[in-house]
């Protein structure tokens, strides 16, 4: 009997846990049913006379409620005990402030850089038919966001200035290139630095009034600026052509050689057969070079006094000021640098698309770029790149999931769930890792050995 006693106690406890889990799951079911009843249970549709009518979707509603309840039950019965057991036997606490970089971290960067350089060639070898799509949608698209993420990383990650209107500078760059190229016929390579300068100028212009603001307030004011610029782009029709956008933007050339099928074209000049892949490859390596330039400049700037002033500003503005750092200049340079790279990315975007409209520069873009920076772990270059690949690549992959049509029927369109999942992923990743994927800090100055600082030891002031 002495042996059986703990066994029954254990069984009793398990039964209690199950009862509790069952009750909890019932509550979850009730809440999710009530929550989803109006919007999933009913659908408003327009009939022939343009009146709204209701349709019901109760089977769908019940299925979703069942899925949520099952997930909750699974969490309570399987994951919760597992976490409790793990909490009972914690791994040896890592109490040291710093850690030597792991071998993985040391080799990941060169490997990733090598991979992005050979990526289009790999694609051409593996899927020659769909290569254009894979290089354009995945390669170029992701690299634009990597570059924007790195640019915003200077403002948010290094200087700690929360900017929710970053897309404004992207728009300035894009419209600078589009309008100047169409009006004066300048080439891409002349306008690229010019667009960067104009964006940097706007960065200073918009940065100046917000010097005194911090944190959330700064975020909201920059958001307002971003929206104002977008609304002006929409409403100043004589200048920007409003909603209709600017089309027929000249494509970039390689030292004056255009990428077309004409006699002066790239293919004819080099005596190879014309293929649209040439231009895509050229664009890919251009944006890769621009992104690498952004990363390189950021890494170098961190070693310079201005970069160190940025990071000091992020950690504690008051301490920074009492040490005699000119916070005005520090903030303005951060805004200007960040805006400049957004301007480069913007003019590249305009050149790649050949068409731009205010639709491309909504608040959602700013939110996407900011979320890439925060999810990546603010200040970490690798983290930002990984986050950009995950978020943008993930949403692009949603376009490719045609096989789901066989599961859910032909009306099923995976692309419309893209942003839904994107938003939910933002919430989940924040709950899972509030400090982002790479939460450690790498000081630019160190004693003897290069070490990183764990995120849990980083305490930021307001900035």
């Amino acid at each position: 009997m002495a042996v059986a006693a703990p066994d029954t106690a254990l069984r009793h406890e398990v039964r209690l846990n199950l009862a509790r889990a069952g009750k909890d799951a019932a509550i979850t079911a009730a809440i999710s049913f009530a929550l989803l009843l109006p919007l999933i249970g009913f659908k408003t549709v327009q009939n022939m006379r343009n009146e709204l009518e209701l349709e019901t979707r109760f089977p769908l509603l019940l299925t979703i409620v069942a899925i949520i309840t099952a997930a909750r039950l699974f969490g309570l019965v399987v994951i919760e005990p597992w976490r409790e057991r793990r909490a009972l036997h914690p791994p040896a606490p890592n109490a040291t402030l710093t850690a030597v970089k792991s071998a993985f971290a040391n080799y990941f960067t060169p490997f990733a850089m090598g991979f992005v350089v050979v990526y289009p060639i790999l694609i051409l070898l593996v899927v020659p038919q769909g290569a254009l799509k894979w290089i354009d949608n995945f390669g170029i698209q992701i690299l634009i966001y990597v570059m924007l993420g790195w640019g915003l990383n200077i403002v948010v990650g290094l200087a700690g200035l929360l900017d929710l209107g970053y897309v404004a500078f992207y728009a300035v760059g894009a419209y600078s290139y589009a309008l100047l190229a169409k009006a004066f016929g300048f080439s891409f390579w002349i306008l690229l630095p010019m667009a960067g300068c104009l964006s940097a100028f706007w960065g200073i212009l918009l940065g100046f009034p917000v010097l005194r603001l911090r944190g959330d307030y700064l975020a909201i004011v920059t958001l307002a600026f971003g929206e104002i610029i977008r609304l002006i782009l929409i409403n100043w029709v004589s200048f920007t052509n409003g909603y209709a956008g600017v089309s027929g933007i000249p494509r970039p050339t390689l030292l004056g050689i255009p990428f077309n099928a004409s006699d002066e074209g790239f293919a004819a000049t080099f005596g190879i057969e014309f293929s649209p892949v040439h231009r895509t490859l050229f664009l890919y390596y251009t944006i890769l070079a621009l992104a690498m330039l952004t990363a390189y400049v950021t890494v170098r700037l961190r070693q310079l006094p201005v970069g160190r002033a940025w990071e000091a500003l992020r950690e504690d503005e008051i301490a920074c000021r009492s040490l005699g750092i000119n916070t005005t200049n520090t903030k303005l340079t951060a805004f200007a640098m960040g805006a400049m790279f957004a301007g480069f990315a913007g003019s590249f975007f305009a050149a790649r698309q050949g068409f731009i409209s205010p639709e491309s520069f909504t608040f959602l873009e700013s939110a996407t770029i900011l979320s890439i920076v925060v999810l990546g772990g603010m200040g970490s270059q690798i983290g930002v790149a990984v986050a950009a690949v995950a978020m943008i690549g993930g949403t692009e992959i949603m376009r490719e999931l045609d096989f789901l049509k066989y599961v859910f029927g032909n009306d099923f369109d995976p692309t419309q769930y893209r942003m839904l999942i994107f938003g939910f992923a933002m919430v989940l990743i924040m709950i899972w890792k509030p400090r982002g994927l790479v939460g450690t800090r790498e000081p630019s100055a160190f004693l003897k050995e290069r070490r990183t600082i764990l995120g849990s030891f980083v305490k930021e002031g307001h900035g």
């Binding site: 549709v45 709204l52 929206e227 938003g423 400090r435």
Partner: protein, 304 residues
Amino acid sequence: MEVFIQQLINGITLGSIYGLIAIGYTMVFGIIGMVNFAHGDVFMVSAFIGLIMLLILTTWLGMGSVALALFIVLIVSMVFTSLVNWTIERVAYRPLRGSFRLAPLISAIGMSIFLSNFVQVTQGPRNKAIPPLLRDVIVLMHGEYDVTISYRQLIIWAITAVLLAAFWYLVSRTSLGRAQRACEQDQRMAALVGVDVNRTISITFIIGAALAAVAGTMYLMYYGVVNFSDGFVPGIKAFTAAVLGGIGSLPGAVVGGILIGLIETMWSAYFSIDYKDVAAFAVLAITLIFLPQGLLGRPEVEKV
């Protein structure tokens, strides 16, 4: 003159809607110090819930009395929207309380994207229009341009006034309001003297959502059309109202809301209707830059 008075009436109506949303922003900011970015989308969700309830009542049950239908719609929308906001707080904000300062903001932006896309996916991207309700107007002044006030506008004014009175009573005279103000000042101290902080914050979100639901239903009634993307701009304008009135200050939110409503309608009438949103955003930026404590707020003092 007629135009001015007419725009005054329209502006106060619009401002009441903004003011009700702004209370949700200002309360949440006051108590947990975060900008609840998803609040504008909660407002939009409430308008959709109201729309669906209205359709159930009118097309299925054939309810004749518009006033009774509106009353039921209002109550149902308040209940469901409160549940939505309560869940959002539990799922997306509570795990991040006391965390890194940017985390709740990003989580709220994610929630905002999620909500608007959820409505887009479940209800479709098109504008949802309902036949106009309560079209009758009262002519106040005859002239070459009649100044009118519609029953709709009168109802909006009346509901806003009644709700604000009830809300003011709740916050200033009940133990719940006391608990809220205590949490605003110092959460740990409030917990030590026996205030259930989590419950108080949940109730704050519920109240904010209920007021947003009233605003959403009235928005639907006033404009007769709602779209999944309607949460963003009214949300920003309501936030502007909260900032203009002084964030954290409840009377400030209402005053700010009415001011923003007036600025928007007057701007549309006298300058250009295309740039009315620019005016609202510019007010937001100018207020934050030159008057960060707002009209009725307390200045923020930072201690080192």
